[in-house]
Amino acid sequence: MSETAVVIVRSFIAFFTLLIFTRFLGKQQISQLTFFEYVLGITIGSIAGTLSVDLSSRAWPHWVGLFVWTFTVFVMQKISLKWPKASKYLTGKPAIVIMNGKIMEETMKNMRYTIPDLLEQLREKNIFDLNQVAFAVLENNGQLSVLLKPEYQPVTRGDLHLPPQNETLNTEIIIAGKLIPEKLKKIGKDEKWLLKELNKQGIKKYEEVFLAVYNPVHSTLYIDKYKDKIKKPQENPY
């Protein structure tokens, strides 16, 4: 018995079966997965791994297991899509952890959600002061949605009755010390202009630049050098 040949054939089968089955399940992103779906993913992956290399058992039962788990997830997805009420029981419902600026201790306790978790997720949303928060909702996928109090909400152009401004994507001209000539041409500039802009910041060679990005709307160039001049980094309070 050639173990290598058997593992190659079984791995090939496991790989393409997993590929077909996961494509069948759709394009839900990892960040959108609930904890249960995350565990399902691990289980399906684990079965595929066993199918591939566990020669002490037949491959067929593992393949059937893979099929059944994928099919069950598929059925659950269909149920959730067709009956939103069932979805509430299958995937849970979002929990309000801050209501009108007040922390809902009981809800947090039920969700096994701690204060450090809450503060961390608020910081991820650039909120460092709890006074700014009107509502915070813990979504099924574990992400926190936050509604700021009106006085802390950013002003929009609409609030100031200003006309809308066009925004376009920035263009990278230098990446990791290498000039991208076609991008430079695309923004209608030449190397002479670029060297002049770099000279203004004391840069003589492209190799000194880690990233250079051009914004066509504001006609600004963002430059980051390999050598950063930060004398004293701020202490980490966490």
């Binding site: 054939v9 089968i13 077909i20 020669l55 002490s56 058992s57 037949r58 491959a59 393949w63």
Partner: protein, 121 residues
């Protein structure tokens, strides 16, 4: 049209996988007399019973050859442990036939036939 080809190829691939993973029963069947494992096992069984040691030795050699050929075909769909068990049985049977030990030899051939039956089941 493209969608039909896409889904047809997926069905064909999955069917092929199902076939390979269940090919043990088909692969167990002999392609010619040389790899007819069941035939030589049965013949060896009879010769052991009648203590016909010369014929038993010949059957054992043929049985080992047949097993070597069959295992190449069935290895993708059966348990490695069952294959190893038959390998061990054949090694022990060689010793018993050399020693002309009828009862141990018969027990061993029965076990081989049982393992053979359990392959892919």
């Amino acid at each position: 049209m493209g969608k039909i080809i896409y889904y047809t190829s997926i069905i064909i691939i999955l069917s092929l996988f199902v076939f390979i993973l269940n090919s043990g029963d088909i692969a167990k069947k002999p392609w010619n007399r040389e790899d007819d494992f069941e035939f030589y096992a049965e013949s060896l069984h009879k010769n052991l019973k009648s203590e016909n040691w010369i014929e038993a030795k010949k059957d054992l050699i043929s049985l080992k050859k047949a097993w070597k050929k069959t295992v190449k075909r069935i290895q993708y769909s059966v348990e490695k442990d069952e294959i190893n068990a038959i390998n061990v049985n054949l090694a022990r049977l060689t010793g018993y036939i050399e020693n002309k030990d009828k009862s141990a030899g018969l027990a061993e051939i029965h076990e081989i036939q049982e393992h053979w039956h359990n392959l892919n089941n």
